[in-house]
């Protein structure tokens, strides 16, 4: 069996002698003093947390809010990785934690921040504490454990958690960039964005033109999960092995399905993915094997997403459970009750833009893509048949049996 390799990179994000401070300094040199705003703008760095928002714009708006409110801002490194299918944040924090911390120190300096946080899975914190002890950052970084909950990485939920409140999304008036942790303007950046920022600050512009992809495949029936650093614009067919795949989940559980034949030719950038109804998201690329039922997999994921709703907004609290239950029915190899698809469509139409966060919006997009991509499967179920030759789930769903 030949391992699928990622395209060649010069100085990839995960390359390095090791995670210790000494190894980091030997590989990357000292932290430079730079005009961060200009550098980030020119490199065209965009967020790697899922929304893909231009980092320079985010930096500017927090700086403006800090000036307007005359409150020193707070910077947060978001390593929550609420996306169960992704492993890039954990990998990054294990392999190159000092790049992340460098990035955090750089934004803290650029904004004149009074506090800095790194939020990550509880299990990673002891190791991170050791790495922190080797550093002498002007603004000390406070480590914060995050619950393994899908929405824990949502900006306002994370800020609430840092304030000691339950990790639930808050209303966006005002947004966290104006009023976040401790009522201060808060900059929340994904750990990958910060690591890339740390490389950009050292003159490595290519670092802004790549992304960490969590690949999930099956090769000859054996599951394969890894994290690779891939240039933006790479062909998905070159990154993923798609021989026995029927469809690709692009982005993560907040992403969308694309049929394998089409996905192979898509490139990992906005202009190629958008017409296919997809986006980079959390960088997950999962190739669904042909011997699985796409509807069953999606039903499992949507059941999880519905359970992970914060339960704060009426439309989401009512719509997602109904859609999830309907998908469970549609995932069975039996004809569905008439009108169920129409109901799913109607409920889906009632959710976008009506919650405090984009959780319901993303879920209905995923469902719509599944119903489109797996329409043949749906027809098969209507005739009491199903493609699945194994009961083994492909996509990991926390909490399921």
């Amino acid at each position: 069996m030949t391992a699928v390799t990622a395209p060649e990179l010069t100085r990839g994000l995960l390359d390095g002698p090791g995670p210790s401070f000494a190894q980091h300094c030997a590989a990357h040199g000292p932290l430079p003093v730079v005009d961060l705003h200009t550098l980030v703008e020119e490199a065209g760095l965009a967020g790697r947390g899922g929304a893909g928002f231009p980092t320079a714009a985010k930096l500017r708006s927090v700086a403006a809010a800090a000036a307007a409110t005359r409150k020193a801002p707070v910077v947060v490194a978001n390593g929550s990785e609420g996306e169960p299918a992704a492993a890039k944040d954990a990998t990054l924090l294990a392999l190159v934690p000092h790049l992340v911390l460098d990035g955090l120190a750089l934004v803290a300096a650029a904004l004149g921040a009074s506090a800095a946080y790194l939020a990550a899975d509880e299990a990673l914190l002891p190791g991170l504490a050791t790495h922190l002890a080797d550093r002498r950052d002007p603004v000390g970084v406070r480590l914060h454990p995050v619950a393994q909950v899908f929405l824990s990485g949502e900006e306002s939920a994370l800020c609430a958690a840092l304030d000691g409140r339950p990790p639930l999304p808050r209303t966006k008036f005002p947004p966290v960039r104006e009023r976040g942790v401790a009522g201060r303007p808060t900059l929340v950046l994904n750990v990958e964005t910060l690591a890339r920022l740390a490389l950009v600050a050292r003159g490595n512009d290519l670092a802004a033109a790549a992304l960490l992809v969590t690949r999930r495949m099956e090769i000859a029936g054996t599951p394969w999960v890894d994290v690779v650093d891939v240039p933006l614009g790479s062909r998905i067919g070159d990154v993923l092995r798609l021989d026995d795949a029927q469809a690709v989940l692009i982005g993560g559980y907040a992403g969308t399905w694309v049929e394998a034949s089409r996905a192979a030719g898509l490139r990992l950038d906005r202009s190629s993915l958008a017409p296919a109804g997809a986006s980079l998201g959390a960088g997950v690329l999962a190739a669904l094997p042909a011997d699985r039922c796409g509807l069953r997999e999606t039903a499992g994921v949507v059941g999880y997403l519905a359970a992970q709703s914060a339960g704060q907004c009426g439309p989401c609290l009512n719509g997602l459970p109904r859609i999830a239950a309907a998908l469970d029915v549609l995932a069975r190899p039996a004809p569905a009750p008439s009108g169920l698809l129409r109901d799913v469509e109607r409920w889906s139409g009632l959710l976008p833009g009506r919650g405090a966060c984009s959780h319901p919006d993303a879920t209905v997009r995923l469902v719509a893509s599944a119903l489109r991509v797996f329409s043949e499967e749906l027809a098969r179920h209507g005739a009491d048949r199903c493609s699945a030759h194994t009961g083994r789930p492909f996509l990991p769903v926390p909490g399921s049996g």
Binding site: Q312, C313, G314, R354
Partner: protein, 69 residues
């Protein structure tokens, strides 16, 4: 532009708003408000202010986006 906006966390679906402003607010099948898109016409501003004041949880507010269109 001035428009009505609902804070979806605070809104618990009382439904007074739709009764008082049927031209601009409808209720979905679960009793939660659906706001008409676009800017509020100037002659409806007074009504909008009154409806926002009537919301039992103060979830409905009049917002000024400060942008045209």
């Amino acid at each position: 532009m001035t428009r009505l906006a609902v804070d979806p966390i605070t809104c618990t679906g009382h439904g007074l708003c739709a009764e008082l402003f049927p031209e601009g607010i409808a209720l979905d099948e679960w009793g939660y408000p659906l706001l008409a898109a676009g800017e509020l016409p100037p002659d409806l501003l007074r009504t909008a202010r009154k409806v926002a004041a009537a919301c039992p949880t103060r979830a409905l507010r009049l917002r000024d986006d400060g942008r045209a269109g």
